[in-house]
Chain length 492, copies 2
């Protein structure tokens, strides 16, 4: 164990390596035999399930329902929306045949007689197949709004992949809504941005900046893309959720019209919005340290682990009994707890293991604790320990979990504050961007300037913030007028 | 509405058409633009979600964890287990390319330069990719058992499809477990069969026969396939869940070995088990009638619907207030309720709509009810109505929901009993099989007899029952010795 932990590369030595080590060693995910596709291991999946559960509730609380649309999309659908095809119909998995047959020399080969008339694309996103479906669902204003979400897998044939952050197949949710008016669709897109921000800040404990994307960073087919941007510990930004106002683009491409109260017909207004298993990557990178994961209590698969320290079977039995009482009390408060009294591993090994796995609170109960009716409580976020009375321990632990949730958020917030700064000249920018972080700069609003900066510094406009300082100024590159500062950063 | 309802074909006229009408009209699912792939609409998906939620809890209660494995499987993996390839690597979706490019005349075409070295198969089931993964997870007995489940989509290129019952893409869960001993793996396979039977009987309210499949009906690669078989209203059987004891076949194919306590190495023992969105089809066909769906309360998206009957806005306001009190009380008892006071549809329309959608209890509250503090309660299962006092209504409704759950089960149980009979000669069999139902017959245990019966009557051995009469006898076809009666039926 000590051995394994030492193998976790330090963040300061190689952040990318640290991340990869951690994902593997904390049993979150691993690469599969299929290039670019990951296996999400049970501990990693348990975190994703907690995220799903919370997001799903938030979607339902805002009036959405779940549905399921086909994995495959006819190739021709991608060509129907001009911008969309540019963005999505390129690096994708193409199904061309529907049968294998036995090969003469053993094994199987693709049956050339089973070629599809039209190739099918494994969905990289589902706007096209969904809007093709909505055409039959929507005739009148009475059928609106349609507020569907789906939990699904999607495939984008990425060349350079990283576990959770960028994989060929990933899991996500995609909301697709249809509205009678532009204003309603814009309000929906903004509402879902706020839902995402609420989730990421209050459950993942990661502060985000809400903003809109520049035209060149917009979703292919959108009129406006809202985004939340988070800052990772290495000073790089991570786009954590996007919500798109699609205008009438997809309604026009798939001929989805509705009759209003007066019987006049118009195209339907659309939004789409999604977050993915990428959020697990963000969660890891935002909080974890050289000892392993640091999980916010609200998303930890178990919030408390209890480890017995005993000299003999008799003592273990006594500890088992005491712990059973504590576990029962924690459960009444809705706290998830694991009691690890497996005898094939030593306490020290277990301590390191749960530290690696980011369990927010680790309790240890030994012989002296039995005598004193106490228990040792170790916090994962601060790595501090204290010995507490078992009397009323459940309420104290509940408070501690709340404290940890807040403390993790505060730490990430303070870090971001320390890494966010105004930059006023391009020369300064070129120096500052090497130090990472969010750089607040004036930009003239042109794609030319944006591209120049990207090519020269690998920094992109993460977003034009919705909140905060809106003072106009002059573009740091061109000197032309700028409406407000925007956020530049290097990003995942 | 009355119009729409009349369009629901009667079961006695055309059962298959009735089923298809019902799936479409109750807004459960529809065919998509992709051949054989369905769109699961929100109301149908809500039923599936309730199923998922309950099953997931039952899996976790029996020690399983969720994980996620890749959608794609390298073609060569299928050839590794000799029987498996015969069963699964034939009618499947084959990914051969990973890029599209703009076509000269507009649109997109497959880029011939982006051909995969090895084709990828969209998973029809995941034994191969999972056992290839388990090889790295399992070294010693300490790593066992591995008890993973995944919720996923799978694709089998079916030529003749029917909504929910047989679709090219469907949703399911697949459990894949690894064990140190044969006995433990067999016990796991049997445990999961019992979990499925428990779920189908106690939540879906569909009685099932537990049994094992004959060799020719086994899962490709299994040593033994356990099954639960249900009887639909048209007298056809529907296989509702299977659990497979896989022996060491996949461990040998993917070289998964473990060291036991003494350090000696052996191949790992395996099981797999799954149920799918097909269960939604079973649920529909088992209980519904010519008026529409009949849903068991435990799986109904909402258990109670309340419809106001009012003369004017003022009266509606009063009803709204009264209903708010009832809704609050129902929610404290965990009863899901929808209050439909939308003013664009008449009460009669709503009544038929909720009958069509199978809502277990429909409440109507009008002017006279306001005066008398009463409410009209209509049961979907019996189509009976009674007027009840609003005083303590919540407890009465809770009891009624329990009664409905039991009554639906009893009705299905009695129907099955009436359709299950012993048949002792093949001549009698040929007559009886036309009447449908489960036929209990002696069989000599040979695949030849089984195939003869299948070719001549389209009936298959649904299972060799685990419980019930085990008296030996003589095969109805060959006259050779038979160990016990088996169940023959035509099936979905």
């Amino acid at each position: 164990m000590a051995k394994e932990l030492k193998e976790l590369t330090s963040r300061s030595v190689n952040y990318a390596q640290w991340y990869n080590d951690l994902v593997l060693k904390a049993d979150l995910a691993e690469n599969s035999a299929v290039r670019g596709c990951m296996v999400i291991k049970p501990y990693g999946y348990a975190i994703w399930e907690k995220m799903q559960c919370q997001l799903d509730q938030m979607f339902k609380d805002t009036g959405h329902v779940n549905a399921y649309f086909p994995l495959f999309i006819p190739k021709s659908f991608f060509s129907k929306e001009a911008d969309h095809v540019e963005g999505f119909a390129k690096e994708c998995a193409v199904v061309t045949h529907y049968r294998l047959k036995n090969a003469p020399g053993g094994g199987v080969v693709v049956d050339p007689d089973a070629k599809l008339e039209e190739e099918l694309i494994v969905r990289p996103t589902s706007e096209t197949i969904i809007w093709n479906t909505y055409r039959n669902w929507i005739q009148s204003y009475r059928d609106l709004p349609v507020l569907c979400n789906q939990w699904a897998n999607v495939v984008r044939w990425e060349m350079r992949t990283r576990l959770f952050l960028r994989t060929a197949e990933f899991l996500w949710q995609e909301g697709h809504t249809a509205h009678a008016t532009e204003a309603e669709a814009v309000a929906e897109a903004e509402q879902m941005l706020n839902v995402y921000a609420d989730f990421v800040e209050n459950f993942m404990a990661v502060p985000v900046i809400k903003g809109v994307k520049s035209a060149s960073e917009r979703f292919a087919g959108a009129l406006n893309t809202y985004t939340i941007e988070a800052l990772m510990q290495d000073g790089k930004a991570l786009q954590s959720g996007t919500s798109h106002f699609l205008g009438q683009n997809f309604a026009k491409a798939f001929d989805v019209m509705f009759a209003d109260q007066n019987g006049s017909r118009d195209y339907v207004w659309a939004t789409s919005w999604g977050v993915s298993t990428r959020l697990v990557g963000a969660l890891i990178m935002a909080h974890s340290d050289d000892n392993g994961l640091v999980l916010p209590p609200k998303l930890a698969p178990y919030q408390v682990v209890i480890v017995p320290i005993y000299k003999n079977e008799e003592q273990l039995k006594q500890i088992d009994e005491n712990v059973a009482g504590i576990v029962a009390k924690l459960k009444t408060l809705g706290i998830s707890v694991k009691y690890d009294n497996a005898d094939n591993k030593k306490p020290g090994w277990k301590f390191s293991e749960y530290e690696l796995k980011g369990v927010p609170l680790r309790l240890a109960l030994g012989g002296r604790d039995l005598e004193n009716n106490t228990i040792e409580v170790a916090r994962r976020d601060t790595l501090t320990k204290e010995t507490l009375s078992c009397e009323g321990i459940e309420n104290r632990l509940k408070d501690l979990l709340d404290e940890i949730q807040q403390n993790i958020y505060k730490k990430a917030f303070d870090f971001r504050a320390s890494q966010t700064r105004e930059v006023n000249s391009y020369d300064e920018f070129k120096v500052e961007i090497e130090r990472g972080g969010f750089l607040l700069c004036h930009w003239d609003g042109t794609p030319e300037t944006e591209e120049l900066v990207k090519n020269e510094t690998k920094a992109t406009i993460r977003c034009i913030p919705l909140d905060g300082d809106k003072t106009p100024g002059k573009c740091m590159v061109s000197g032309k007028p700028s409406k407000q500062r925007v956020i530049f950063a290097r990003s995942y």
